[in-house]
């Protein structure tokens, strides 16, 4: 019981996760800065930002519902934190696990996007409204291919004759006993990784918060605590997403003393790939994002599934 509480509140979920999220966010910013020939922030900058914002006055804009305005950031953060309970954070066993938690996690991860969109849509600010429109548009673009891509390893396992499951911990253990799914399913791996960038609104999918067009997008009216909670939720979601992709595609959760270290190293490696992509690519317009996902992303996923089935039938 005490151990459960410890797991839930401090490590690996809870405060430990938030701390890790901020560290990952720092790594993201620092690497991006170094790639762009800048100095970048020091390691405690995201922590300082979060603390500073939490202590600041929150300005509530006229014309929006005060309840929703205060409640949405909380919901977003709790959604992200709850999603973290079912994934093997840092290669450790998930805090909770039940059959079907993969689906639940995927939906909990979308809660953040929904909250950001709603937060923008319920203010009267024109930049927020335009940003909210883009958040939802982008979500409808990447969501289906992203979810399908993360379900693919489970389908592949089932097709390979192993007991099927939608349970992340089982999938991660099964993945550990075989070659990385990255090699078997390279196409959906790419879709999952790029989908994660879309979910986190990282460049080139940062049209919803394109500062040169719509200031800060859906979150333009947020300041102080609300903004801090949203940014913490993003940090948590970054860790959860990286963990999920690593667990499913990069050799799952192994056993042994170094398994946790190895797993964490893999997530950092994945972050590095994401940062390189951010450095290389220019922002896409929202219509181009939609095109990319529906014309290429979803077709790629379907092609991967077709290949899987063909392989199974021919064998």
């Amino acid at each position: 019981m005490a151990l459960d509480l410890l797991n839930l509140l401090f490590f690996p979920a809870g405060l430990g996760l938030i701390g890790a999220g901020l560290l990952y966010q720092w790594a993201d910013r620092k690497l991006l800065a170094r790639f762009q020939n800048r100095l970048g922030p020091r390691w405690f900058q995201p922590f300082a930002d979060a603390l500073k914002l939490l202590g600041k006055e929150e300005i509530h804009p006229a014309g929006s519902s005060p309840v929703l305005f205060a409640f949405l950031p909380v919901l977003a953060l709790s959604g992200a934190l709850t999603a973290a309970l079912y994934v093997p954070l840092f290669g450790l066993a998930p805090v909770f696990s039940f059959p079907g938690d993969l689906i639940v996690t995927l939906y909990l991860m979308s809660l953040l996007t929904l909250c950001i969109g709603l937060a923008g849509a319920q203010t009267r600010d024109r930049f927020s409204l335009a940003g909210a429109l883009r958040v939802f548009t982008q979500m409808f673009a990447y969501e289906a291919p992203f979810i399908l891509a993360l379900l693919t390893p489970a389908v592949a396992l089932r097709l390979a004759g192993q007991p099927g499951s939608w349970q992340i911990s089982e999938l991660a253990t099964a993945a550990a006993g075989r070659p990385w799914f990255l090699l078997l399913l390279p196409i959906t791996f790419v879709v999952a990784l790029v989908g994660l960038m879309g979910k986190l609104e990282l460049p080139p999918f940062d049209a919803p918060e394109a500062e040169t067009e719509i200031v800060a997008g859906a979150l333009t009216e947020y300041s102080g605590r609300g903004l801090a909670l949203f940014s913490l939720a993003r940090a948590v979601e970054l860790v959860v997403g990286l963990t999920l992709v690593t667990a499913l595609y990069l050799g799952g959760v192994g056993s042994g003393p170094l398994a946790a270290v190895l797993f964490t190293a893999k997530t950092v490696g994945l972050l590095l790939v994401i940062v390189v992509l951010q450095t290389l690519l220019a922002r896409l317009r929202i219509d181009q994002t939609v095109n990319l996902w529906w014309r290429i992303g979803s077709v790629l996923v379907l092609a991967q599934w077709l290949l899987l089935i063909l392989y199974q039938v021919l064998r």
Binding site: N37, R126, L133, E211, T212, E213, L281, R283, R285, D287
Partner: protein, 408 residues
């Protein structure tokens, strides 16, 4: 289909907005993400410099006018000194003219480099932004080495230039532009080949040659639409007769063409600077004598600023001070094209299209009087009207008693 009022709303950009480096106000009416109408309001940074020049003598005005723009300061002072020297009938030594041209071309490189970064940032391509601005430091350092200043080089004096180019400085410039040329070629590759970036520039904000002529656009914006218009070539000033620039023309007229024209111009600048340094004429740095008072008369001086044709009208009544200095910067000529280009485009393209003309708001800002359509105010204001308005304005603003002035 008629959009109902709820489908369309106005997105205001500015006077304070992250996409704008200077204050200007735009209102874009959008339907979903598509712009259907656009208006602009300028004049937030009007500084009264033209009026200020009238209260200073010919030399003092030079320093004032150089401060119109922080990016193309040298070209403003060049336009002014060329006009004043013409009125004073002063012969400027060839070496001074060549040094003026060298600095003007270095300034063009720094301005285009800066623009490339700003435009890349507006496209959400921050890596290109950071790298171009790092490389821009090279040319800034060169200008500092030559003049001691990074922004206002203060190179021109009436009748000549203030400093010489030593052999060491020339060697440093050559080394610097070798590096810059290599980088510029790389950026040309990025801008013309990067698939993600091309999605944001190719076919966006297209302006045909016909439209460009109708709207009277100038500078690289016009040359990207195939309008062969470059003051350096059309009516050479300073040393452009001996060291001619080559015109850079493209016909596509879209944002990509505007990127490429400016990058090609930088490459031409490197060639021109090498030629200038190789064949720098020997001689004096300034004319022997520059009169303190100028004969009555007027002159029009046109030069090619990095953004296009810069126009100066200078009038003397025979005193120590200019009677009138009128400045028209290229941004004013190009601003109209932004409004027509954005219509029908995605809101996301608007900052790109705006930055495509390389706007410089504060330089072009002037007092504006808006006339409502249908009101019979007809004629533009005369000089006397303007004077009357100015007097009334200050009387209202400050409660000044200006009867004595008004009579005169």
């Amino acid at each position: 289909m008629n959009a109902s009022a709820s489908d369309r709303f106005v997105i205001p950009i500015g006077p304070q907005h992250p996409a704008l480096k200077e204050p200007g106000h735009f209102e874009f009416t959008v339907e979903g993400e598509t712009v259907i109408d656009a208006t602009v309001r300028l004049g937030y940074a009007h500084r009264g410099i033209e009026k200020g020049a009238e209260g200073r003598n010919w030399t003092q005005s030079l320093y004032l006018l150089e401060r119109i723009c922080g990016i193309c300061s040298h070209i403003h002072s060049t336009a002014y000194v060329v006009g004043v020297e013409q009125m004073a009938e002063v012969e400027v030594p060839a070496r001074a003219q060549a040094i003026r041209e060298t600095i003007a071309e270095l300034e063009r490189i720094h301005s285009h480099m800066l623009w490339l970064g700003v435009a890349a940032h507006d496209a959400g391509f921050d890596s290109l932004f950071m790298y171009t601005w790092r490389d821009r430091e090279t040319v800034m350092d060169l200008l500092e080495a030559i003049s001691g200043n990074r922004v206002h080089y203060s190179a021109n004096s009436l009748g000549g230039v203030k400093f010489d180019l030593s052999d060491e400085t020339a060697a440093a410039i050559l080394k610097g532009i070798d590096f810059l040329e290599e980088r510029t070629r790389h950026y040309r590759e990025v801008v013309s080949q990067d698939a993600f970036f091309l999605q944001r520039t190719r076919g966006v904000g297209t302006m045909t040659r016909q439209e460009a002529l109708q709207l009277g656009v100038v500078g690289p914006t016009a040359r990207a639409s195939g309008v062969a218009r470059d003051v350096r070539i059309d009516s050479p000033y300073i040393a452009y007769n001996e060291f001619p620039a080559h015109i850079q023309l493209l016909s596509a007229g879209d944002l990509e063409a505007r990127f490429l024209v400016r990058i090609d111009e930088m490459l031409d600048c490197y060639r021109l600077i090498r030629e200038l340094l190789a064949r720098m004429p020997a001689g004096e740095l300034a004319a022997k004598r520059m009169p303190r008072k100028l004969k009555p008369g007027e002159v029009i001086s046109r030069v090619e600023a990095p953004r296009g044709e810069l126009f100066y009208y200078i009038r003397s009544t025979g005193g120590e001070q200019p009677d009138r200095v009128k400045v028209r910067t290229p941004t004013l000529c190009n601003m109209g094209s932004v409004l027509t280009q954005t219509i029908g485009h995605n809101l996301a393209d608007v900052p790109m299209i705006l930055v495509g003309i390389d706007p410089c708001f504060s330089c072009n800002d002037r007092a504006v009087s808006v006339r409502r359509a249908g009101r019979a105010e007809g004629q533009p204001w005369s000089w006397a009207d303007l004077r009357r308005y100015g007097i009334d304005f200050y009387r209202r603003q400050m409660g000044l008693e200006t009867h004595a002035l008004a009579k005169g």
